[in-house]
């Protein structure tokens, strides 16, 4: 599952970048992230309660940041597993100054396995898109 999104943020790239690598901000931006505990440089254990409507699942996993090139780009990796199966994904985020703000281009590649993929495949793309939109919506609020 691949998806791309472009988002406008009302802060310069440096500020956006700083927010994105701040675990507190990350936790507030990642939908359903209940706990984010730093375990190493740029690596966190995460407890996620992810889902939509009736379909909710608890996942335990890791969040990792790689390829950091402040303030231009980095890659965010999320891995989690729980009763409904597993989620794995990475998102390459590219920040470009645009006026006083930033244009963020996000290229994400994700994989979902287990019950969710067996019964919910039709909604996966749309759900991933929604989660990504919400991430940047919240990030936008954080840096505003």
């Amino acid at each position: 599952m691949k998806l791309t999104g472009t988002y406008r943020l009302a802060a310069p790239p440096a500020r956006v970048f700083a927010a994105l690598v701040d675990p507190d901000v990350l936790q507030r931006c990642i939908e359903g992230a209940e706990r984010l505990v730093r375990t190493a440089d740029d690596q966190y254990d995460v407890h996620l309660r992810l889902g939509i409507g009736t379909v909710k699942g608890a996942y335990v996993g890791t969040v990792r940041l790689t390829d950091q090139q402040p303030p231009d780009r980095f890659t965010l990796h999320v891995e989690g597993k729980g009763a409904p199966g597993f989620v794995r994904g990475s998102a390459r985020i590219q920040l470009t100054a645009a006026g006083a703000g930033t244009v963020a281009i996000c290229d994400a590649d994700g994989q979902v396995g287990g019950v969710v993929s067996a019964v919910g495949s039709r909604l996966l793309d749309a759900t991933a898109r929604m989660l990504m939109d919400r991430f940047f919506e919240r990030l936008g609020a954080e840096v505003r």
């Binding site: 009763a83 597993f86 396995g113 067996a118």
Partner: protein, 778 residues
């Protein structure tokens, strides 16, 4: 070879309702899940959500701590005790992974069993299974068989060093000359999609060990209790004669239960280890993920044709996607495709090259028709393609390549000998039932109005009655036993294992006629190795063709024995005794006659027997068929397409099938209609889908579409009767005909409807979207 010709109306040939039905209709039949044994534990399998991963750790501690849990077992606990799953199909150069019952260090398909939890109740077992922690390290995945052949592809089994399981070829006639002499070569690439059998009863088993006698009983939802009894001892180390396998009521198989599965070995072993009966019942999602799939072949097909429209030869390279490992017959399926690739036609030269390829999916194996639907689809599509490219009438093209009735037994270029047939008679009858000219007129009228109307024909032949032992790994005979009880009631035992086909009825019909007893006096037993001692079970349309042969042998032996006793009691020589309608009397003479009641009583009380006469009236027999059988027929389908949405409506369906002599036309009709429904599913909407990461996207009925009542058209069905000489009943078998003959008729009809738009071929399933794209060239 004796074929009794009877003037009097007997049971055979009548459309009789089934004797097995009342228990099924009243909800009183016993399927595996209905079994309850004292102290029975319930097993749940923990399965991989990954298509390919290293298993780093299996932690059952949290699960073990839950109430009611009797044990949590990983591969490390069980694999050393449960052997490996056998594959009964041998191929030269076959590279096979070691298939343990639970994953050891690696999982290689979604649904791969990783651990087993056993608990006091099913609910507790599921709770515990949820609590088992498995740590995986995902590995690269390959799901596309063609990509699996590319250099640098991820390997399904890194230790094999290749994804190629085997290469196999079949050649007959001079194929090079055929293509050299061809005026034209018709080519088409075709993909035969992967299907999920989806019997409505999922699999399941109960194993129970008697410590006193050291015997193990395994009740399992299987088509092959006898083969399980042959193969399971090698896995779990029990003696064959201390294992009893019972197939109770079995809720559909379609080949998916023609296998020995890991769960059967696991429950058997655990029943011994835990000293308690262990039950495992498959969930639908497990059934979709970890019970065999069918079909999945892709290839490039070429036909050499001369200017006068004669087909000179046929060659192809086929890639068979085997999935990730070998089940019982996995490698054999594409070879069956090769054997009947020339269909019902005289095609002098053929060459087929098959590459069997491993991918990170469930194993493919025998699904109803097993290799033959693929072959029939290919040749029937190719006949239409040749007709289209050479400007011939598709009917005439088929007709001119039929062997004539007098050319049978007909040797094919693939090395088979077709037993008997009159292919043109079936075709003529089908055209008559379809009102061919009227139908063609309707198509032309619809086309003039801008409609998309198509007619498809399929003239098929299949290979059934599996089969002569020399061609079957575990032997292809069938066993039976007929016992006239002391009360003169008749017990028939068959080694075939009917699970819906109705042999309790058809075998009773045969026995009642041949023994001259009322059908109500007969009981037909099957499916329990302690009763039906030997058998090669039910698959490949063999139960009546081969099992019926054994039945006839038994009856002949019993009658023969009874004649000797009757002669003794009548004071005559055996050859003077005549047997008719259940009575034994002296030929030509009046006087006393004896019935089964008299003879059975004498035979068992054994006070007045001829010298050297063994008491009792029972005979058993192994019937060895001298050849396969080759049922055939013609199916005609007409469809109307919705130009806007691509939706297909079947407006006419005609089937004329020749399965040799008919024991019970009602049951034959049922088999055919069921098969045609599966063909409708395959042709129009069924397909098993894995995504590029190997996730199964058709894991429930919510995503894998089975035909529903509303999808079925009204049929016009007919038959011709051309008996086989391969067995004494002259029956050819009918269990798979519907899935073999019907699929290409439907596909040909849809493609014919699109022909005015220049469409020559589309791969199945012919979904509305695919048709919409074809119409709009998108």
């Amino acid at each position: 070879m004796s074929t009794i010709v009877k003037e009097k109306v007997g049971y055979v040939g009548r459309a009789m309702k089934r004797v097995e039905d009342p228990r099924l209709l009243k909800g009183l039949a016993t399927y595996v899940d209905d079994l309850r044994l004292p102290g029975m534990l319930h097993a749940v399998v923990v399965r991989s959500p990954h298509a390919h991963a290293r298993v780093r750790r299996v932690d059952g501690a949290a699960a073990r701590a839950l109430a009611g849990v009797a044990g949590v077992f990983s591969g490390a606990d069980l694999n050393a005790h449960c052997g490996t799953v056998p594959c009964a199909a041998s191929m030269p150069d076959l590279k096979a992974p070691k298939h343990t019952v639970l994953a050891s260090d690696r999982v290689y398909f979604v649904g791969h069993p990783v651990a087993v939890v056993v608990a006091a109740t099913p609910y507790a077992a599921v709770d515990a299974a949820e609590a088992v922690q498995v740590e995986y390290e995902p590995l690269p995945v390959v799901v596309d068989a063609e990509k699996a052949l590319e250099k640098g592809s991820p390997l399904t089994h890194p230790d094999l060093g290749t994804n190629v399981a085997f290469t196999w070829h079949l050649a007959g006639g001079d194929i090079d000359a055929a293509f050299k002499n061809a005026d034209r070569v018709v080519r088409q690439r075709m993909y035969h999609q992967r299907l999920t059998p989806m019997a409505i009863e999922p699999r399941g088993c109960v194993a129970s060990f008697d410590r006193g006698s050291g015997t193990l009983t395994l009740w399992t939802s299987t088509q092959i209790p006898h083969l399980v009894r042959t193969l399971l001892p090698g896995m779990i180390g029990i003696a064959e004669n201390k294992l009893r396998v019972v197939a109770p009521e079995v809720g559909g198989g379609f080949g998916s239960k023609l296998n020995l599965y890991v769960e059967e070995a696991i429950c058997s072993y655990l029943a011994m280890r835990l000293g308690a009966p262990v039950k495992w019942i498959e969930r639908r999602r497990e059934n979709a993920a970890a019970t065999i799939h069918g079909r999945d072949q892709i290839g490039d097909y070429e036909v050499a044709v001369s200017n006068d429209g004669t087909i000179l030869g046929l060659r192809n390279r086929t890639i068979a996607d085997l999935g990730s490992y070998l089940q019982l017959l996995t490698p054999a399926i594409p070879t069956l495709t090769g054997l009947v690739l020339t269909g019902s036609y005289k095609i002098p030269a053929v060459r087929m090259d098959v590459i069997g390829v491993y991918t990170h999916k469930m194993a493919a194996d025998a699904y109803r028709g097993a290799g033959r639907p693929e072959a029939t689809y290919l040749i029937e599509r190719l006949m239409d393609l040749v007709a289209g490219e050479t400007g011939q009438d598709p009917i005439e093209l088929r007709r001119r390549h039929f062997p004539k009735p007098q050319e049978f037994p007909f040797p094919t270029a693939t090395g088979l000998t077709y037993d008997s047939g009159d292919y043109d008679a079936a075709l003529r009858k089908a055209m008559e039932l379809a009102r061919w000219d009227e139908l063609v007129g309707r198509r032309e009228a619809r086309r003039r109005d801008g409609g998309l109307f198509g007619i498809g024909v399929s003239t098929y032949v299949e290979i059934c009655g599996m089969g002569p032992s020399k061609a079957m790994m575990a032997g292809g005979w069938e066993w039976g036993c007929v016992r006239i009880e002391m009360s003169a009631k008749v017990t028939v035992i068959t080694g075939a294992t009917p699970h819906g086909q109705g042999q309790e009825t058809s075998f009773a019909q045969i026995a009642a006629d041949r023994l001259g007893v009322p059908i109500d006096d007969i009981v037909v037993l099957h499916g329990d190795t302690s009763i039906a001692h030997y058998g090669r079970d039910t698959y490949g349309s063999r139960a009546t063709a081969v099992g019926g042969g054994a039945l006839v042998m038994c009856i002949d032996r019993v009658v023969d024995k009874a004649k000797r006793l009757a002669a003794h009691l009548l004071g005559a020589r055996p050859e003077q005794v005549e047997f008719q309608e259940g009575r034994f009397s002296l030929k030509g003479g009046a006087g006393r006659d004896l019935g089964w009641t008299d003879l059975a009583a004498e035979a068992y009380v054994a006070k007045n027997l001829p010298a050297g006469f063994e008491p009792g009236l029972e005979a058993s027999a192994f019937f060895e068929p001298e050849n396969f059988t080759f049922p055939f027929g013609t199916h005609i389908c007409a469809v109307d397409l919705d130009r806007e949405t691509g939706k297909v409506t079947i407006v006419k369906y005609v089937a004329v099938d020749d399965c040799g002599n008919q024991m019970n036309p009602l049951l034959i009709e049922g088999q055919l209609q069921g098969g045609i429904a599966q063909s409708i599913g395959q042709a129009l909407f069924e397909r098993t889908v894995y995504d590029e990461n190997g996730q199964l996207l058709t894991g429930e009925f919510t995503d894998y579409a089975l035909p529903r009542a509303e999808d079925i058209p009204e049929y016009a069905m007919g038959a011709t009767v051309t008996p086989t000489t391969a067995n004494p009943l002259g029956v050819k078998g009918v269990g798979e005909a519907g899935t073999i003959g019907a699929t290409p008729a439907i596909a040909n009809a849809v493609i014919d409807a699109l022909r005015p738009l220049g469409v020559k071929h589309l791969d199945m399933p012919l979904t509305p979207e695919k048709i919409w794209r074809a119409i709009n060239r998108r």
